[in-house]
């Protein structure tokens, strides 16, 4: 018995170490006084100070967040519409084709998506005169196209699990299809829509490949900035930047986990009360 628990414990420890040692070593070295990223030279927070006074980093972060907010929102609207169409309109011409087309970007190599987006923008600029300059708009459009796929898949699977008679009941009670969507379908799938938005937001926020293809002069997002800096060698300020990102993400995850756990508990309690009240 003891033998087995030791074994299990070491497996667990190894697994956790595999996942978290790189992150913790990065955070550790972000407090390094030395200029060399991997040689310890004493404790210091100077790199954090330098980071927040570096306007290049701040600008890149602001640009990334702007693009992520806009593209996630647009991707969520379009992706939800596509998900609704695929899940609810059982038979229409080209349904299988559309389903395939919508989900293809999930498995498409990013390089391909990047190149094809770039070519499209170049051709459009030639024939339509728009977009004249690649930058914010083109990056955002490219992000929308590939992140809406994720939203579509999430919304579609939520709708597939939803009891369709709930929508029929709303229609039966006199609601026209758009009223059913507003009053019943959207409120019920809202958690899926929200998680779709979050996923689209994170995907957009950390994308390097597609952004590199579709950006123009003067538009550098945070991941691109990190990537270009690392090419010149890992410096402690990169460690500091990455540590800030990790902290922000960890806090976000923790908060949403707490909220979810509370909602679950409340639900559980309500169900217990209902059962007890009925006895």
């Amino acid at each position: 018995m003891k033998q087995r628990s030791t074994f299990l414990f070491s497996v667990l420890a190894f697994g956790l170490a595999f996942l978290y040692v790189p992150i913790f070593s990065m955070i550790f070295f972000s407090f390094n006084k030395s200029r060399l990223a991997t040689v310890w030279g004493g404790f210091s927070t100077q790199w954090y100070g330098k980071l927040f006074s570096n306007s290049q980093v701040i600008d890149a972060a602001v640009l990334s967040i702007k693009i992520a907010l806009l593209s996630a929102t647009m991707a969520t609207i379009l992706g939800t519409m596509a998900g609704l169409a695929l899940a609810r309109f059982r038979q229409f011409r080209g349904r299988a084709l559309m389903s395939g087309l919508v989900t293809a970007p999930l498995i498409m190599p990013e390089v391909i998506t990047g190149i094809s987006s770039l070519l499209l923008f170049i051709m459009m600029a030639e024939w339509l005169g728009w977009p004249g300059q690649r930058g914010f708009t083109t990056i955002t459009i490219a992000h929308i196209t590939f992140s809406m796929t994720y939203v579509t898949v999430i919304v579609q699977s939520r709708l597939a699990a939803m009891d369709m008679s709930i929508e029929e009941a709303a229609m039966d009670l006199g609601s026209k299809p758009w009223q059913v969507l507003r009053d019943v379908t959207l409120p019920i799938i809202s958690p899926a829509v929200l998680s779709g938005w979050l996923l689209a937001f994170t995907i957009s926020l950390d994308d390097v490949v597609i952004t590199s293809f579709t950006t123009g002069p003067g538009y550098t997002t945070l991941p691109m900035l990190i990537w270009s800096k690392v090419k010149l060698g890992v410096t402690p300020d990169i460690n500091a930047l990455a540590s800030v990102i990790v902290t922000v993400v960890a806090v976000g995850v923790a908060i949403s986990a707490v909220i979810l756990a509370r909602a679950d508990k409340r639900r559980e309690r309500d169900i217990q009360m209902a059962i007890a009240a009925n006895k």
Partner: protein, 374 residues
């Protein structure tokens, strides 16, 4: 239940004319014609896949007939979408809106009615009082028990006072005790409001107790329409006889016809049996049927009776008010027989017990003959 109700006004409040529904090559509903009167509590009864739910969904407007027409209160329903029909439905899964309170669920359909907010609130209160849920108005559906949800669904579907209420397996998800209670409640509400109810069910007991008339469906067609007692006592076919209640059924040949009395020879019974029937001639094949409770069981040979069979008690089950016997005939065939335990005696002193020799009597009026079906 059905007997105590006022006889519903027959008529053609709902007219279903030659309605067919195909799903691909599958005929779910096959040329069904049916009239339902105003204020009736009508049941569509059948096994799964018999087309009863499809027919209900066509009345609601969720499916369009491939052929045929449906009229509700004289209005042709062709091209009328579900949200414009004077019809509401109570769903099998209840389909309550999970993000709305009980009161909001019940009041949802009233949003589309032209009524003042105060009037609307009154109606919601009225409906909740009717199903005895006023104290739970602010709960969410997941905070309710199954029986409470069922009543919310009923209140919601009645809130708009539709001309026609459709109920899809209304008691399916309830336990036995709650079912018995609820089916009388539904019948009472129906009587109070005078709304026409059409119930879909696979449960014959539910159909028998609830409905004033029943349509027995099988593979897309209606096999028989009638009052519950009609369908039980005078089934028009082997299928209906077999589907409703339990029955002893054996193959037989018509031997002699003497006015209303038809004498058949049943090989499995090893005897000739006389049946009151008409429209038969000697030499025809038939199915002879009689219900277990129509058979008299006795230990002494009844004097002067016709259709007496001799057998041995192979098995019996004691149910309190009655017992079910399995009687093995000399031919090896086993018949089911019900006997009411009219006297208060110990089980072993009851009508008969294991290995007892008994005599079974079937009166010619209680036996039935059916033509074999393809």
């Amino acid at each position: 239940m059905a007997e105590s109700e006022p006889s519903p006004s027959q008529g053609d409040f709902i007219r279903i004319e030659g309605v067919t529904k195909n799903f691909g090559t599958f005929k779910a509903v096959d040329n069904v014609s049916l009239n339902i009167g105003k204020g009736e509590l009508f049941a569509l009864l059948g096994g799964s896949g018999c087309g009863k739910t499809t027919l209900l969904r066509m009345l609601a407007g969720f499916e369009t007939p491939t052929a045929g027409r449906i009229f509700i209160d004289g209005q042709d329903m062709e091209g009328v979408p579900a949200y414009d029909r004077p019809v509401n439905m109570m769903f099998q899964s209840y389909a309550l809106f999970p993000h709305m309170t009980v009161a909001a669920n019940v009041g949802y359909g009233l949003k589309h009615e032209d009524m003042s907010p105060a009037r609307r609130q009154d109606r919601v209160k009225e409906m909740l009082a009717m199903v005895q849920l006023s104290h739970l108005a602010d709960r969410k559906p997941h905070q309710l028990s199954g029986g409470q949800r069922q009543r919310v669904a009923l209140a919601r579907s009645l809130a708009k006072l539709p001309k026609l209420l459709l109920l899809d397996e209304p008691l399916g998800a309830l336990d036995k005790k709650l079912r018995e209670h609820t089916q009388f409640e539904i019948a009472n509400i129906q009587y109070k409001l005078g709304i026409t109810f059409v119930v879909v069910t696979h449960d014959q007991e539910e159909a028998m107790t609830l409905a004033s008339r029943i349509a027995v469906m099988d593979r897309g067609i209606i096999r028989q329409i009638g009052a519950p007692s009609d369908i039980y006592e005078n089934p028009n076919s082997r299928f209906v006889a077999d589907f409703i209640g339990s029955i002893n059924m054996v193959e037989a040949d018509v031997v002699r016809v003497d006015g209303e009395t038809v004498e058949v020879s049943a090989g499995q019974l090893g005897a000739h049996v006389k049946v009151l029937a008409h429209g038969w001639s000697p030499g025809e094949r038939a199915s002879l049927a009689f219900r277990p409770e129509k058979v008299t069981i006795s230990r002494k040979k009844p004097a002067g009776a016709v259709n007496v069979l001799k057998g041995k008690v192979q098995d019996f089950g004691y149910f309190g008010k009655d017992s079910l016997y399995r009687i093995k005939l000399p031919t090896g065939h086993v018949l089911s027989v019900n006997a009411v335990n009219a006297e208060r005696v110990a089980a072993e002193k009851a009508v008969a017990t294991w290995e007892d020799e008994v005599y079974l009597t079937v009166s010619p009026a209680s036996a039935m003959l059916f033509r074999s079906e393809a």
